[in-house]
């Protein structure tokens, strides 16, 4: 028989659980807001990529955070190419000028090694963010968040190369969406032969900083490995590398004249104007090609799309898109407002807020959570949005990580130079031999054993190389 005392005790526990219920159900965004209110009246400074990207904290998240918590957000806009330098310089100077940071994941290990990033594990536990972190798509969560076993940033941008093609043109010509680079070349050549100069079969951005991502992708799709894991000798000049380089240059012949100098905007303008039938780029192309949000003032520089409703989305030929660049949110180790900065990035990155942010047409943040890919709201944004989100989701499964080692940029710099020499007409094998020699020199300088360990760590990640 149950005693009255036992019944009363049980009721008390139930009552306590009922009261605690809302607290347990509180989202990571709400937790961050509640905790951040104690810092009301302060200002936190965040480094953000200059241009469209920073319209997110300037127009949307910054004012909203201020309204919810009373904390001001100061945005320091820095061009992408200078972000690493600025963050490192500020850290070395120890001014505490930056509180929160946007970090390209391939830099994370260098910045963490330099002590510029604050480890976030303790904050994550303190503010109960682990569950929501787990909901980030595995390719980003498992590869762009930690250095070793320590969390240094929250993956916040699902950057991935998507293949865009004109459905109407391919259909009209009885052509299939190419799934290999050989098919791509054949399809593009046919279309160029038929339509040029009014329209070319394809175009890509070929400016070296962009094209080096494409090379990284294609080299691995061809079976290339960047280094011999035993000796750490560069193997970028292998047959796979030469094949990728040779094909990349050959493709320029069916692309518009001068494509060698094209960057993000030139390529975008040509595709939206209907001057090219196929291209490869980051996710915003897909949104703008559909005309999503391009009537907003911030996007008045984007040429009006003449191809809305005619664009298909797919994985690039080879099926393993480069997860080119991307951004993670971190806290500066020299910040004087680490707690407030952490709470801001938790709030930004949370399931609720990030869903709103990835739908801002102007802000360039791309879906990176399972809930983003499956969002009914996002799928209703334009008629082909479900197809678009599906391509992004597939990319988040089979995508390939940017090479990330100690002093990664020195390796990328050699590759960038190699690509500009490729467009200048030099022999692909000779260029790649030089690139490999430069890579070996960097490895020697960093320390072969140290770099070998860094490479083993990177190469051991599931998305470093295509799965067999």
């Amino acid at each position: 028989m149950i005693s009255r005392r036992a019944v009363n005790g049980g009721l008390a526990v139930l009552a306590a659980l009922a009261l605690a219920g809302p607290a347990f159900a509180q989202s990571a965004a709400d937790k961050a807001v509640e905790a951040a209110k104690q810092y009301s009246g302060t200002t936190i400074t965040i480094v953000w990529e200059a241009g469209l990207q920073s319209l997110d904290p300037l127009n949307f998240s910054g004012p909203k955070w201020k309204e919810l918590t009373g904390i001001d957000v100061k945005v320091v806009e820095v061009p992408t190419a200078e972000m690493f330098t600025k963050i490192l310089q500020e850290h070395r100077a120890g001014t505490g000028a930056y509180d929160a940071l946007n970090v390209i994941p391939s830099w994370m290990s260098d910045l963490a090694r330099a002590g510029a990033l604050e480890p976030l594990d303790a904050y994550v536990d303190k503010y109960g963010y682990r569950d929501e972190l787990q909901e980030i798509a595995p390719v980003y969560r498992d590869n762009q968040m930690k250095v070793g076993d320590t969390i240094y940033g929250f993956p916040d941008d699902g950057d991935v190369f998507v293949f865009y093609y004109r459905k109407d043109i391919l259909e009209e010509n009885g052509l299939k969406v190419p799934t290999t680079w050989a098919e791509f070349a054949e399809t593009a050549q046919k279309l160029t032969d038929k339509y040029a100069p009014e329209m070319y079969g394809a175009a890509f951005f070929r400016d070296a900083p962009y094209a080096q991502f494409m090379f990284q992708e294609r080299f691995r799709v061809e079976g290339g490995k960047f280094f011999d894991p035993e000796t750490m000798k560069a193997t970028v000049n292998s047959e796979a590398g030469v094949k990728a380089f040779t094909e990349m240059r050959a493709e320029n012949k069916f692309m518009p004249p001068g494509v060698e100098t094209w960057g993000f905007v030139e390529n975008l303008a040509a595709f939206l104007a209907g001057d090219t039938a196929m291209t490869l780029s980051w996710p915003p192309y897909g949104r703008w090609a559909a005309g999503y949000g391009t009537d907003q003032e911030a996007l008045n520089w984007v040429p009006k799309s003449t191809v809305a409703g005619k664009v298909g989305y797919a994985l690039p030929p080879g099926g393993h898109p480069q997860l080119a660049a991307g951004f993670s949110l971190s806290v500066s180790a020299s910040s004087k407002n680490k707690e407030a900065a952490y709470l801001f990035i938790q709030w930004l990155n949370s399931k609720d807020i990030s869903l709103q942010r990835v739908q801002l047409p102007y802000a360039l943040r791309d879906p990176f959570r399972a809930s983003h890919f499956e969002s009914a709201e996002y799928k209703s944004r334009w008629p082909e949005a479900p197809e678009y989100l599906s391509a992004l989701q597939q990319g988040a499964v089979s995508g390939l990580l940017d090479l990330s080692l100690i002093q990664t940029d020195k390796y990328e710099e050699a590759l960038r130079q190699g690509i500009s020499r490729l467009w200048a007409g030099e022999d692909p094998k000779a260029i790649l031999d030089d690139v490999a020699a430069q890579w070996d020199a960097v490895t020697e300088k960093v320390g072969v054993e140290e770099q070998k360990a860094a490479y083993a760590d990177w190469a051991g990640k599931p998305n470093a190389y295509p799965s067999k």
């Binding site: 070395r92 004249p257 020499r421 260029i431």
Partner: protein, 283 residues
């Protein structure tokens, strides 16, 4: 003693802004500072030894010399020709002079960015004009093709800095003693003889200063090349300043960059002293 007390603030400022950075750079060049690591240990002559093995550095120095050796005489000749044209009074002279000098007041990085647009293979007016002249569309890759990239950079550089030469030489020509020119004319000397025997000796000090200033500027050439090619294709147009920038601010090799800076200072000092001696204007 009082007079020395009066000048010491000026001496202090000079030491602070002139000598201290040089000494500090020298000190850093003997350390092992790399922005990615905390190490500040003494490295002796390691970075200086590395300079001699660094092929890219000497190539960059070679590119700098190519730019200097081509641009400097062309700027001088064009500047002198323009100055001779405008030395005589004519209607609207001041307006023309002001217009001609405009390129020098533009920031070099802006000038470079503008030339980049002019050289654009698709929308740039240069290819468009070439197309009109040849009767078919032209898509010359000025900033990619190794055959055109030097002429393109030199064109931008000469366009911007010839007016500077022009201005200095115009001032020099304006000060040539008119009585000597008149006497030469009366004596029946031809234009060339008058130029070589009266005008040129008279403007020689100005000429020397103009050459020295522009020579030093060209040795530090950075902005236009950076805006146009960033030193590419590959490192084909990389100047010593661009190389130093890349090492210091992209590769974060602080001490090695300091060694490059010391090398540049030494080379420039030797050149300047030799030039001043040769031009006999040091006195």
């Amino acid at each position: 003693m009082f007079q020395y007390w009066l000048i010491w603030p000026a001496v202090l400022v000079i030491l602070l802004i002139g000598l201290f950075p040089i000494l500090y750079t020298l000190m850093v060049s003997f350390q092992n500072i790399n922005m990615l690591e905390e190490d500040r240990s003494f490295s002796g002559f390691m970075h200086y030894a590395a300079l001699f093995r660094d092929l890219r550095l000497w190539q960059a120095l070679g590119h700098t010399l190519i730019f200097t050796c081509i641009a400097l005489p062309l700027e001088l000749l064009l500047g002198l020709a323009m100055a001779l044209l405008f030395v005589d009074r004519m209607p609207g002279r001041q307006v023309f002079v002001a217009l001609l000098v405009l390129p020098t007041v533009i920031s070099p990085i802006i000038a470079g960015a503008t030339w980049r647009l002019l050289f654009d293979n698709r929308f740039g007016p240069i290819n468009q004009i070439l197309g009109w002249l040849t009767g078919e569309p032209q898509a010359v890759l000025w900033l990619v093709n190794p055959n055109f990239v030097y002429p393109a950079i030199l064109l931008a550089e000469i366009w911007q800095w010839t007016p500077f030469m022009f201005l200095l030489l115009l001032a020099g020509l304006a000060n040539v003693d008119p009585s000597q020119l008149e006497a030469a004319e009366i004596d029946g000397a031809g234009w060339w003889r008058t130029f070589f025997q009266i005008v040129l000796p008279a403007i020689r000090p100005v000429l020397a200063i103009a050459l020295l200033i522009r020579g030093l500027d060209l040795f530090r050439l950075f902005d236009v090349v950076w805006a146009l090619t960033k030193g590419g294709p590959g490192t084909m147009t990389e100047t010593i300043s661009i190389y130093a920038y890349v090492q210091g601010f992209q590769q974060f090799e602080t001490s090695y960059t300091a060694a490059i800076a010391v090398l540049i200072i030494v080379l420039l000092s030797i050149l300047v002293v030799a030039a001043l001696k040769r031009m006999e204007i040091a006195r």
